[in-house]
């Protein structure tokens, strides 16, 4: 049997890695990927808590599905923005997209 | 139960007894037993390919008024083995600038994606890799590995034609996945569940009678999924050399090739399970091996249709292909899904269920066809309306 803590440790590690990617990567697509890592870490937690603490309530799985929907929407809009920016400025490096910075 | 009626159950019991006699812990017995069944199902698929390639070549030859392979062995049955020897002994070329790891992984992934489908195929009563309660969805899920393998192959080859072919292929595969999934949901609605075993056991009337339009759309979009003519734009040799597997040689190409053939037959088997009642047939419940026989007959029927279409139709243009999907198949499949859900709920348990569903299917198909021809005619008219026609002048 796997104790709940294993899943939580794994999710914590995954979340921290995703956070690092989102903070430190230069490429906007890579930042989006790192955000996906964090969302997945959250999903692992949601499903693990559902399974270990409240298996009779389906809520944990419903929340995971909501995360799927949000992730799909986020990626679609995010990549559209990135492609649109690339078309205008020929770069996707996040620190070069600084028109609104003073 | 005798060996000849249900060989799989007998052999399975033998292996289980053997494992128990080794005094292993229970978890390991389950693990090893599962591993053995995985290997058995996968090798069944791989062995089938050898026969399928021979069959396809024979049938295609008959369509083109040729004889087909007839030199190696009786009826040319050993031809595929000769081909395999040829492929294995060929030089294995990897392009200098290729991304080696991804380049080598792609053909394996493409074959795995197809073999994984066989894990949920119910061959006969009790003969199934695993009866997932989300079987139909699982089939859709493993299909995405196929798309991934195409993209990996196209990108890692470091070849413009391969990359363009991969782009085209992915656009086509993703687009045609939409009507395929929608029509796969219709048998799910009718069977009240996504499990493959349940799908077969509830089909007292074959679903092709309850949902003929869905069956046709499923078959058409599946042909596009496997990239066969008339949807073989992903390897249109006059435009793209050979598409995403341009750079592949020897057995790596052979893997793509085998995956494509197996996928074509798998589509036939899926069509048989979803719409033609799977292993159902006289006496199949008592004698499982008969069920296997029926499933194979039905599967080859679907496969034959795929081959027939392949030998009959020319390749269609890429914009026509996309328009056909988004302007005809997808709307019709959506309408069918909603109508089926409504009618099946209204007429559940009454004698009117069959005629109502059948009628609705035919009406939707006819309406869809009528509207799409109307639209395309209007479009053609608008295209030509304001155009100055070139006038032939005497020189």
């Amino acid at each position: 049997m796997i104790p709940l803590s294993w899943y939580l440790y794994l999710a914590a590690g995954l979340f921290a890695l995703g956070l690092f990617g989102a903070v430190a990567r230069r490429n906007a697509v890579a930042i989006l990927m790192s955000v996906e890592l964090m969302l997945n870490a959250v999903n692992i937690n949601l499903v693990a808590f559902w399974r270990y603490l409240a298996p009779a309530e389906i809520g944990g799985q419903v929340f995971a599905i909501m995360v799927f929907a949000v992730a799909a929407a986020e990626v679609a809009v995010g990549l559209a923005l990135i492609i649109s920016i690339y078309r205008g400025r020929k770069t996707v490096a996040a620190d070069e997209i600084n028109l609104m910075k003073w | 139960m005798s060996f000849w009626q249900d060989p799989i159950a007998v052999i399975g019991q033998l292996i289980l007894d053997l494992l128990h006699s080794l005094n292993l812990p229970e978890g390991w017995i389950v693990f090893i037993y599962t591993l053995i069944s995985v290997v058995a199902v996968a090798s069944f698929g791989l062995l089938l390919v050898i026969f399928l390639i021979w069959l396809e070549r024979k049938v295609a030859a008959r369509f083109q008024d040729r004889v087909g392979p007839n030199r190696a062995g009786p009826f040319g049955l050993l031809q595929t083995f000769a081909d395999m020897v040829k492929l294995v002994t060929k030089e294995d070329v990897v392009p200098e600038k290729a991304d080696k790891l991804i380049f080598n992984l792609a053909p394996i992934l493409s074959l795995i994606a197809v073999l994984l489908i066989w894990a949920v195929v119910p061959f006969a009563p009790g003969w199934i890799g695993t009866d997932l309660n989300v079987g139909v969805l699982y089939i859709a899920a493993v299909g995405s590995f196929g798309i991934l393998s195409v993209l990996m192959a196209g990108w890692s080859s470091n070849n413009k034609y391969a990359l363009l072919g991969a782009f085209r292929a992915v656009a086509q595969l993703i687009s045609y996945e939409v009507p395929m999934l929608l029509t796969m949901m219709i048998p799910v609605l009718l069977a009240r569940g996504m499990g493959m075993v349940q799908m077969v056991t509830v089909q007292d009337t074959w679903f092709i009678f309850l949902a003929p339009a869905a069956g046709i759309i499923f078959l058409v979009s599946s042909i596009a999924e496997i990239g066969r003519t008339p949807f073989d734009l992903l390897e249109a040799e006059s435009e793209l050399v050979a598409g995403y597997h341009t750079e592949y040689t020897g057995m790596k190409f052979g893997m793509f090739f085998a995956a494509e053939f197996l996928h074509a037959f798998t589509v036939g088997v899926l069509f048989a399970i979803l719409f033609l009642g799977g292993w159902r047939g006289p006496g199949a419940e008592e004698i499982p091996i008969l069920g296997m026989f029926y499933l194979m007959i039905k599967g080859f029927l679907g496969y034959f249709v795929v081959m027939w279409v392949r030998s009959t139709l020319p390749r269609i243009r890429i914009d026509h292909m996309m328009a056909f999907n988004w302007k005809f198949l997808t709307p019709v499949a959506l309408a069918l899904l909603i109508l089926t859900a409504l009618l099946d709920k209204i007429f559940a348990g009454t004698a009117l269920r069959l005629p109502a569903l059948l009628g609705a299917n035919l009406v939707v198909l006819a309406l869809g066809y009528w509207i799409s021809t109307l639209m395309s005619r209007r479009q053609a008219k608008e295209r030509t309306k304001f155009k100055k026609r070139p006038v032939a002048k005497p020189a």
């Binding site: 899943y7 690092f20 270990y52 995971a64 | 997932l132 995405s144 992915v170």
Partner: protein, 172 residues
């Protein structure tokens, strides 16, 4: 160690390793493929957690759609395909510090939480995950409003993505 634990440890290692590779590779296609590996690993975890439906949806949505979209985006923004000169931005040291602190804090907190050692209770008898989930998603006592809002969100995102990404039309 049971077979289940062995599978978990292996998959956990694969997930963390691929996640690490994903955030550090400068070749974005490799990063995207490592992302696929992470997503697949998470799907396996869902299977271990008796959430088969979520596992399959994870593969369809994440690998079949999101990861492929990512790869497409990487290829369309081609200047950066084969590796940028610098894959990290100038403050990545601070990011490393922040994330390792955050990660350690999480792990220490988890270590002190007594509930973390819980084992999975048995699922209710006759458990049918798919129908439970389906009923919960559309019943008024359940989650019908979040479900509808999510579908509106997806539609809005779909239209928005098309509008944003479409090249400017000549005749407009």
């Amino acid at each position: 160690m049971t077979v289940e634990q062995g599978i978990f440890l292996f998959i956990g290692f694969v997930i963390l390793f691929s996640a690490f590779m994903m955030v550090t590779r400068s070749n974005l296609i490799h990063a995207a493929l490592y992302l696929v590996l992470v997503l697949f690993g998470v799907a396996v975890l869902f299977v271990l957690l008796d959430a088969g439906f979520l596992a399959v949806v994870q593969i369809i949505v994440y690998i079949g759609a999101i990861a492929i979209l990512m790869i497409f985006a990487v290829m369309l923004t081609r200047g950066n395909v084969t590796g940028e000169a610098i894959s990290m931005n100038s403050v990545f040291g601070w990011g490393l510090l922040l994330c390792s602190l955050f990660g350690f804090a999480l792990i220490i907190m988890l270590g002190q939480w007594p509930g973390a050692a819980a084992l999975a209770p048995a699922l209710p008898a006759n458990w049918n995950e798919v129908s439970e989930l389906g009923v919960a998603l559309v019943s008024p006592q359940g989650y019908v409003i979040p479900f509808e809002v999510a579908s509106v969100l997806l539609l809005a995102a779909l239209i928005g993505a098309i509008v944003v990404a479409r090249p400017p039309q000549k005749d407009e």
